[in-house]
């Protein structure tokens, strides 16, 4: 665990003093494979109960597991994306326990020798702060089936469709100190997984779930006893669960109580966590190497091949955007949050050898486009305005054809009609007026109509802005504001050369 100086703003005030939260996360990420980890049944979401269950998944007597190569490669790829140690020899173990959605009576997992060892994830926190979270390990394991408890008052219904689906369990070190950091961690991990294409990161469908280990201690003091919140399935809930759980533990400790190490369930309905009776029993999983499988041995050449196929990852992309386009850390962070966004941005900013104004392009993507997508419920992938179309708009702004204000109006129209920017400019006559004669005439008209204001402005130059506004209004916003400013300054005798 890292020894970090506790930050004041992360501490929780209790009745007896400050408390520090210590957080470690185990994230279960479903591998984006067509078939299961050890069987040829489909992994597709939402099928009829027990239709995607092979004889192996149903644990029929004498059935045997055979590992899916693609899942192994995705685990390696993810490990490389987490800058982690890849173990060329790993072993599958059985984790033994009884539960109706665990048909074999054991889960095939990796215990002593996981496929991926230590790695690291960097979190970009607000204010430019970076937090380094250590990765303890990543291992491959089977998902369990699903028990439905609300179909009958006395019985539970079991569906094994998910049973055997490949999961990567990514275990962090207890390196996070606030709900905000935990949320940032899951967000970043999700981003990395989506860049790699190894997990779709869909938390609603359960492709990404987090077990959150929460403990509290006096700032910088010895570690407290932790409780595990299992299967929290949204980033918002992760924050809520941590905040509730930390307060619960502090209350117990301040009243002189002791924290019992246990598994707890976060209930989003009431925002509380509660003990899971079924998992309370002695955790004695009797791990041992699965004798139906052999050691998983990878060739370094295979690992190298996967490494060579790795896409540019968010941290590298961010650094490159900052250095290639002089973007701020903030803009770069926002742009790399989704690979599709970064790709979109780069398609806007770069056109063969031509580079557009990166800051202008960034603003248009992160402010105007994002704002509109959010309002309209679209994603970058379904955006009605393509990167090419937006690039054209940026070009029209840059070469002075349209003003920034008109550009917003044009963008609105592009989004709604699908027409191109130049088409809108031409058809709607929105070309910016840079002809100084026409602008001068407009200024003269305003000055002539407001002689009192002219006198006041000559004494108080700040009032010149009122004239700019009036001129823009009379030209329907098409006058080039820069030209308006220059001529106005001369006419009011405010400019040096005037």
């Amino acid at each position: 665990m890292q020894n970090r100086e506790p930050r004041k703003e992360d501490l929780i005030k209790g009745a007896t003093g400050d408390w520090e939260i210590v957080l470690g996360l185990e994230v279960h990420a479903q591998v984006t494979s067509k078939s299961k980890l050890f069987s040829g049944a489909s992994t597709e979401f939402g099928a009829e109960p027990n239709t995607q269950v092979s004889l192996v998944d149903a644990a029929m007597p004498g059935m045997l597991p055979v590992i899916n190569r693609y899942c192994v490669e995705q685990a390696v790829k993810t490990g490389l994306g987490l800058k982690a140690q890849i173990n060329l020899r790993s072993v599958f173990d059985r984790k033994n326990y009884f539960y109706p959605d665990l048909p074999q009576g054991y889960q095939i997992s990796q215990f002593k020798n996981p496929i991926v060892g230590e790695g690291v994830v960097l979190l970009d926190m607000p204010g430019g702060r970076t937090v380094t979270v250590g990765i303890e390990r990543l291992h491959l394991e089977q998902d369990a089936g699903k028990s439905l408890h609300d179909q009958s008052p006395t019985m539970s219904h079991v569906d094994l469709n998910r049973s055997g689906v490949a999961l990567m369990e990514i275990v962090s070190k207890p390196d996070m100190r606030s709900a905000e950091e935990a949320r940032a961690y899951v967000t970043k991990l999700r981003t990395i997984l989506r860049y790699l294409g190894t997990c779709d990161g869909n938390m609603e469908e359960g492709s990404l779930r987090a077990d959150v280990n929460v403990s509290v201690r006096r700032p910088g003091g010895p570690l407290g006893t932790r409780c595990e919140m299992t299967n929290v399935n949204s980033i918002r809930f992760i924050g809520q669960a941590i905040e509730y759980e930390a307060r619960r533990q502090i209350e117990i400790l301040e009243e002189g109580g002791k924290i019992a190490q246990e598994t707890r369930l976060f209930d989003p309905k009431d925002g509380e966590t509660r003990s899971m009776r079924s998992k309370e029993e002695a955790h004695d999983y009797r791990y041992f190497p699965d004798p139906d499988l052999l050691p998983l041995v990878l060739a370094q050449a295979d690992v190298d091949r996967i490494a060579a196929s790795l896409p540019e990852l968010p941290d590298e992309k961010k650094a490159r955007l900052m250095s290639d386009y002089a973007l701020s850390a903030y803009d770069a962070t926002v742009l790399v949050g989704e690979k599709a966004t970064a790709d979109y941005y780069e398609a806007v900013v770069k056109d063969g050898s031509k580079t557009r104004d990166p800051k202008l392009a960034a603003n248009w993507v992160t402010v105007e486009l994002f704002g509109m997508l959010n309002r309209e419920g679209h994603s970058i992938e379904t955006s009605p305005v393509s990167a090419k179309q937006l690039a054209e708009l940026v070009d029209l702004i840059s070469d002075g054809t349209i003003s920034g204000r008109i550009a917003k109006q044009i963008f609105d129209s592009m989004y709604k009609t699908g027409r191109s920017a130049s088409e809108i400019v031409e058809k709607d006559g929105l070309r910016q007026v840079t002809d100084s004669g026409a602008i001068e005439a407009a200024i003269d008209a305003v000055m002539a109509a407001n002689p009192d204001k002219v006198e006041q402005a000559k004494a108080k130059p700040a009032l010149a802005a009122w004239f700019v506004g009036q001129v823009m209004k009379s030209t329907s916003g098409k006058a080039n504001p820069q030209v308006v400013n220059e001529i106005l300054a001369r006419k009011l005798g405010l400019s040096s050369e005037g």
Partner: protein, 95 residues
Amino acid sequence: MSVDQNTVRHIARLARIAVREDELPALAGELNTILDWVEQLGEVDTKDIEPMTSAVAMSMKMRDDVVTTGNLQKEVTANAPGAEDGFYVVPKVVE
């Protein structure tokens, strides 16, 4: 190491096999006889010896990621003591 009745009760619980209280003394006796006997392995020097976890000296073959089976709902539930609407049905699980 010898097992007492509490230990037998505990491992029976772990193994999910109901054992009657009156069976415990005899079971503890049997298990102890076997465990005492296997403990002779303690005589063997196994320092730095790798455990043998598989009887074949090879690494694992992997299969391709293709869907090769499915739609066996009837087959996988046909033998179930409790099944309904394609689900397995079990006594209520309390979480």
